[in-house]
Symmetry: C2
Subunit: 337 residues, 2 copies
DNA sequence: TTGTATGCGTTATCAT
DNA sequence: ATGATAACGCATACAA
């Protein structure tokens, strides 16, 4: 079957210890030994068995990235960066999808899952209950880094976004444009998720700052941050009186759907309704109109997340760290660029 | 540290063998034994060590999905389906990106990679040289299923697309619309990749069928199937005389870029230039205009691929199988729906 | 039906 | 600097 250390040792007439030393790049090996072993390795096409190595060392060299749905552009773009960043420090990435299933999220968080062959987990919840985290217990059994949330409690490493400020920036931009009937798409029916709550808070704060009234009918829920839900939400908004003249969407995907709904209703973006999203996905740069958005800097989030996670893997006892990723408004055609 | 079989056995006053039997769901265990063991398992919160299990059985329960870039919608949509299909049969999925790096592709194909802790590999090359496969040798060392290509040679399991026919369908549709100057975007500068060659063949065949001349300047290369390249290619096409009145793009992403270029040039889609793509990504359903495309049925491709791969894992000696996934033209606004 | 013992391929400890 | 050997945690052949 497969060539083992033992086979190589036999061939090279040395002990397995020496072969292992050569393979692992151990310092104190004489050049002639190293050469002899290396030739045997080449001759026999030996490849170390990663599983055996893992059993011995406890390290798999694998990270898990947990997202709701990998085909949501924000997550696939994040995944790309995570895989690249992980690859640079010698890790590979397994991807898990939770769908919108809380049980699945909890199962993964608790480590109840059957096969945990990864050294640590990057958890990027679309929506996360604080309760969910509490169930994980005070001491995570396995290295865990949370992505995107902004409820740092000192227990978990964290790459956060300042969702409140991001929302304020987006809505502030609409205000600066002179819009007065500014709606929101993306609140959650059950108000128990951090991200939408924070974005709603920022939205309301920006309206208050501008001295604008907040029309409750202009806060529109969207269960999934999808094009479909954005479309449906916008249709509902267009039926309300007075009709909104601007919409802050909690994700670019919602915004894409909203834009389409505006045009299908015979109106125009941005003239009749200005639209701003969040995420800065590639799709929004080529759409018509191109999408004004709050850019979240996925490459930085990914890099920091991997840094935090590998650090925790190596130093399980280190104090939890929080990194707040910067964001910035990018003005494009959907708000009249 | 972690609770082991041995610990559980001690606690339950039975042998490790019995505990192992209970854990693995072995038939012949007396109810009282099973109950006793299960209680100990629950009490001690025992979880089987997947790595040790793997070392023993040779199975990791993990598949690898290799794609050029996970943030290309076609691949992220495929990945979603693959992860779901794999999950249904008890596998998890690791994702590798090759970028556009041939060495990386070859490394993965040859199994030279350092850490192969997966039972099999789904390889979805954006572009694949036949040479690349030849290097893999006649007998793949590890279960491998190829996706998307259509050069079945009986050596590898294969989920293929009839690229020639898909291209003919797309171009035939443009012909039926009465377009006569039909361009193509997506040929490869180095003509050594299967997919673009096949699509080019279908394109030329469809033109010939319609008795249309083929203007060589209307076959436009695109190194990466990206929005950017589609945009750049379309700009070049719009400068040619006579200007094309339709474009067949080898991917939806190219089409998205091409559409944008048409509008940026002050022209309209579909009136001035009709555009058709391939892949049927979600983005094309909400874009303006929505995108006419050849749908590739990613869910079916994913399901079949996982079926083929798990079959090969269980029956390494089975004859290679090829599945040709169906495709169908979906007419939308970009060709005047 | 259940217990005992061996080995999967590696790393690391203890020698020398 | 190198060799012999004991784990790592599990599954299973063989015994009972």
């Amino acid at each position: 079957m497969a060539v083992t250390l033992r086979d190589v040792a036999e061939r090279a007439q040395v002990s397995v210890r020496t072969v292992s030393n050569v393979v692992s790049g151990y310092e104190h090996v004489s050049p002639q030994m190293r050469e002899r072993v290396n030739r045997a390795i080449r001759d026999m096409d030996y490849r170390p068995n990663q599983v055996a190595r893992t059993l011995r060392t406890g390290r798999t060299g694998m990270l898990a990235l947990v997202v709701p749905e990998i085909d949501v552009p924000y997550f696939s773009e994040l995944a790309r960066e995570v895989i690249e960043a992980a690859s640079e420090v010698g890790y590979r990435v397994m991807i898990d999808q939770t769908g919108h299933d809380h049980d699945r999220e909890r199962e993964l968080l608790l480590g109840n899952d059957r096969s945990m062959l990864f050294d640590g987990m990057l958890f990027s919840p679309l929506v996360t209950k604080s309760e969910l985290l509490d169930m994980h217990g005070a001491t995570p059994e396995r290295p865990l880094v949370l992505l995107g949330e902004h409820e740092f409690d000192g227990r978990y490493d964290h790459v956060a976004i300042d969702n409140v400020q991001a929302a304020r920036d987006a809505v502030g931009h609409l205000v600066a444009l002179g819009r007065t009937r500014i709606a929101a798409i993306g609140t959650q029916p059950l108000e128990e998720y951090a991200t939408p709550l924070q974005r709603t808070a920022g939205y309301e704060r920006a309206l208050a700052d501008a001295g604008l009234d907040r029309d409750p009918r202009h806060s529109t829920p969207a269960a999934h941050y999808s094009r479909e839900d954005g479309y449906a939400a916008m249709r509902r908004l267009l039926e309300s009186t007075p009709r909104p003249d601007a919409v802050f969407c909690y994700s670019d995907l919602l915004a894409v759907g909203a834009v389409r709904a505006v045009f299908d209703a015979g109106l125009r973006v941005p003239q009749d309704v200005a639209v701003v999203g969040v995420d800065d996905i590639a799709e929004g740069r080529y759409s018509r109109p191109s999408l004004t958005t709050v850019s979240l800097d996925a490459p930085l989030i990914a890099r920091e997340a991997v840094r935090l996670l590998t650090r925790r893997i190596e130093h399980p006892e280190a104090a939890a760290e929080e990194v707040v990723a910067p964001h910035r408004l990018i003005v494009r055609e959907s708000t009249g660029g």
